[in-house]
Amino acid sequence: MLTRNHPFNFLSKAFFYPSEEIIRHGPRVINLLNKDLNCGIEEVPDIPAAEFQAEYVRLFINAVGSPIVPPYASVYRHGAGLLYQQGYDEAVAYYREAGIEPIRGPEPPDHLSHELAFLGYLLETQRMSLLDSFLRRHLLKWFPLFSERLQGANPCSFYYGLNKITGACLNTLIEEVTNEETGIS
């Protein structure tokens, strides 16, 4: 059943600050997804919690050389890379169109984790037309820029793998949607 077996809730969780669960089980899930999706990434070993968390801070929160890879749509959809600009507006508009709104939390709702979870929701609720628009007109406008920046930041094996797998999932999803629209199956 398509709606239950998607990986987007996992990917969403994995792009947040690493919880104990992600530290403990995340590498294994990445390795399994790698096998399923044939991404060709090297085996991700278990990573000590302190190292895992420090790496997350370095990559996504406040890192030397700026937050190297801010995980917010706004940063990539706005010429100068500010928070709460066009990318944020777009994300919030899509959520609104789906009849939902982000629960207020510490992270801006155009965080990649929100957007991946939103994709999962669209799949679960079969809002395929909205999903298509969200992917083409928003998420895939900035995810490749984010992904490239993440790759360039020399991430540890977990975030390297997470990046590759997220890219593969998004690419496969957009292909599926395209095929559906063009009648290819």
Binding site: D36, Y84, R96, E101, P102
Partner: protein, 767 residues
């Protein structure tokens, strides 16, 4: 889309994801969403149309202009001046506009962070607020018990720092308010006016009436380059009304460009000029005899003391023309008493002699009878505001240290805190007592306090250091725990009153919710007080103490907001010279300060020459960029785009002799061999050949700030020799010298202006 397996995930993968709680439904979108409720109609309108407006107070600098913030869909879209404000109206400066960029800067400190690597390395783990405050409380308690209360020091600046200050005060340290703003900036001018006039004519604000002045004297003040909106407006209004302007500055600054008479003085000789002018107005009976007789004390001592300062002597010392100096003082005298002798603000220049320089300005103002006159020095108009008892913290029983860090400075007494240089020395040496823990709030100590190399060494000796910061500047980089502070747009502060020429009362209040896990400083202080088991800070939330403060003015937050966020009052800035009574003990202006004499300090200012540059060097001088505040705004997108880096102003003849061209990138090297980052040269006749100027605050060494990092040169990292003012311990900032390195080759600065024998030369070994 057909209902077929998407991505063909294996059972093992699905089970592993399920074990993580991510395989099935977890509420809407993994529990991150809820059904929509918000009315989105306002966000459909373009620009700031349909925005919710909230009045507040700017904090892009310390001037506190009243503002209106426009918010749409929870997002700040625009900041304007509060139209009801009598000082700025709808206007804000470039920085005021750019508050939006501070709020939404991705380089903000977002979560409490704990250092993982070495201090300064920049390796962090995100921790919870609870863990962060536990760690801070544990270390405070441990250090206090082991080394005594004064082993704790708190460096602070601005409104956000005030609540934590209460904590340090309650812990019993004498080092609870070591404002770099005071000990590197306004201390000497504050002491001089407090001693002469009985009140602080220049501290955070300058109480002068430039809008109604017929003439204005600026000595080293760069109004228009340091932009404080109402102050600049008053200055411009005065000039627009025809006020004459005399500017004394080694650099052809923005006000020099508007001056009727510009005096390009030799750096370090301003007091010589002022004392000569004082002597001249006395000798030529240009002063207001009636005013002096009625309102001043110590005239005879003054007259005797300044007799030796002649125009011909000053011409040699100051490298100015006799005729120009004379024209200037005659011009000023012509317009007394409606004359602004501007007191200046940043006054920690040379250490010895800084209080005297501003005392001389105060004396000149008094001789011309400008005190209480239109266009002159004005009086404050107190605005009623209550004091909330629930903000206090009960002080723990503590013994004062046997030797205080304040002991050597007799006129620091009215002010809290210890000289920052004394704290750094005590941290380095353990004498007269050890300082082992620093808390920092609202100040980038490495870009503010001279000799940051010593500051870094001192930090390495600390048992613990923490800070509250909005951006990851150098202070954060060197801290053990970094707390994410809410910006001024996300928090309440206290009630603000302005007691200048157009008094008002207003309030800083949040216009949006704090982003990420940033917290308002009141919340942080309250939680820390609880963890330290201190009694006090008992208000539940900010609104409680603010309403208590407003009550005495017959207001509440709600009623103040109904009135447009600001209430104005009639001002009483002027006094009749026949009934003038200044708030000194005798009610008279002190032309000679006997309290100074009691401490073996000169009661009447004397000229103490600042040593001239050593051979091959020029004096390093600095000032402000009009679109930046301290080192705080260099990472701000809009402001960075306006003014991304500073330039080294080099005299054109000097440049010609050493082969420098406008736009060349060079390195500045100071007399101790410390080198700047690369900086572009501005070749100009608008600076004396014996000085090199750079804007303050650039050349960030924090790689966390992606726009500011390594852009331009830091003045502070070139100030490694400083002297302390003997009155209150301010650290000097104009006692360092630089030469130029281009393409790896050292270029000595040729001496194009002779140094008279009365001025000693700086000896490099002394630093």
């Amino acid at each position: 889309m057909k209902r077929r397996e998407f991505l063909k995930l294996s059972t093992a993968t699905c089970m592993a994801m399920a074990a993580l709680g991510t395989g099935g439904k977890q509420g809407i979108g993994g529990g991150l969403f809820s059904p929509a409720t918000a009315d989105a109609s306002a966000t459909q309108l373009p620009g700031s149309l349909g925005a919710k407006e909230t009045t507040s107070v700017c904090e892009m600098c310390f001037w506190r202009c009243p503002i209106v913030a426009k918010v749409k869909g929870g997002k700040l879209v625009k900041i304007e001046g509060n139209p009801k404000s009598p000082v700025n109206g709808t206007r804000v400066c470039a920085r005021g506009n750019s508050g939006v960029q501070l709020l939404y800067d991705p380089d903000r400190v977002k979560y409490p962070l704990k250092r993982m690597g070495a201090r300064g390395e920049g390796k962090w783990a995100k921790i919870s607020w609870d863990e962060a405050l536990d760690e801070i409380a544990f270390n405070i308690d441990k250090v206090r018990k082991k080394y005594g209360p004064s082993s704790l020091a708190y460096f602070d600046h601005g409104a956000s720092a005030e609540f934590l200050r209460e904590i340090f005060k309650a812990l019993g340290t004498e080092n609870y308010s070591n404002e770099p703003a005071f000990f590197q900036c306004v201390g000497p001018v504050a002491v001089s006016y407090l001693s002469t006039m009985g009140y602080i004519v220049s501290g955070t604000r300058q109480y002068v009436d430039m809008a109604n002045a017929k003439a204005i004297l600026l000595v080293g003040s760069h109004i228009g380059e340091n932009v404080h909106v109402s102050h600049v407006r008053e200055y411009v209004e005065g000039l627009a009304n025809g006020a004459k302007l005399v500017v004394v500055d080694p650099r052809f600054s923005a006000p020099a460009n508007k001056a009727d008479i510009y005096l390009p003085i030799r750096p370090g000789t301003d007091t010589a000029l002022l004392l000569t002018w004082i002597n001249y107005v006395i000798e030529h009976n240009l002063y207001d005899k009636d005013f002096v007789e009625k309102n001043c004390e110590g005239f005879d001592q003054l007259r005797q003391s300044v007799k030796k300062y002649s125009l011909s002597w000053a011409a040699k010392i100051c490298d100015l023309k006799i005729d120009d100096m004379e024209r200037a003082i005659l011009l000023l005298a012509q317009y007394r008493p409606n004359l602004t002798i501007h007191p200046g603000r940043h006054s920690a220049w040379y250490g010895n002699g800084d209080v005297g320089r501003h005392q001389a300005l105060a004396i000149l103002g008094a001789l011309f009878g400008t005190v209480g006159a239109r266009g002159g020095i004005i009086f404050q108009t107190p605005v009623v505001k209550g004091h909330a008892g629930c903000l206090k913290c009960e002080e723990l029983p503590s013994e004062e240290p046997e030797t205080s860090l304040r002991d050597n400075y007799p006129f620091v007494e009215p002010f809290p805190g210890s000289p920052t240089a004394a704290i750094i020395k005590a941290t380095l040496t353990g004498e007269p007592y050890p300082v082992k823990l620093w808390g920092i709030n609202g100040v980038n100590i490495l870009q503010t306090i001279p000799n940051p190399y010593d500051t870094m060494k001192a930090i390495k000796k600390l048992d613990f250091i923490f800070c509250e910061e909005m951006l990851m500047g150098e202070t954060a980089l060197w801290s053990d725990i970094v707390l994410p502070g809410a910006t001024y747009l996300e928090r309440y502060d206290g009630v603000y009153v302005y007691d200048g020429i157009t008094p008002y009362l207003t309030l800083r209040q949040p216009v949006v919710e704090p982003m990420f896990e940033a917290k308002p400083p009141f919340w942080t202080a309250k939680q820390l007080a609880k963890k330290l088991k201190l009694k006090g800070l008992s208000c539940e939330k900010e609104e409680d103490f603010i309403n208590e403060e407003l009550k005495e003015a017959g207001l509440s937050i709600a009623s103040l907001n109904k009135k447009g966020g600001i209430v104005t009052y009639p001002g009483k800035p002027y006094r009749d010279k026949n009934s003038l009574k200044v708030p000194t003990e005798s009610g008279k202006i002190q032309l000679s300060v006997s309290d100074f004499a009691d401490e073996d300090l000169p009661p009447v200012p004397k000229f103490i020459p600042a040593p001239a540059p050593p051979e091959g060097f020029a004096r390093l001088i600095y000032g402000r960029s009009p679109v930046h505040t301290f080192s705080r705004t260099m990472n701000n997108l809009w402001l960075h785009n306006e003014w991304p880096e500073n330039h080294a102003w080099v005299n054109d003849e000097v440049a010609d002799k050493i082969g420098l061209k406008d736009g060349d990138t060079v390195i500045l090297e100071n007399q101790n061999g410390y080198r700047s980052l690369g900086i572009k040269v501005k070749v100009t006749p608008g600076i004396r050949p014996d000085a090199i100027y750079i804007d303050h605050g650039f050349g960030s060494r924090s790689p966390f700030l992606k726009r500011a990092y390594k852009r331009g040169a830091s003045d502070q990292f070139l100030i490694t020799h400083y002297e302390n003012d003997p009155f209150m311990g301010a650290s000097s900032h104009r006692t360092d010298f630089v030469r130029i390195i281009k393409d790896g080759k050292t270029l000595n600065i040729p001496e194009l202006v002779c140094v008279p024998p009365e001025i000693p030369r700086f000896q490099i070994e002394q630093s």
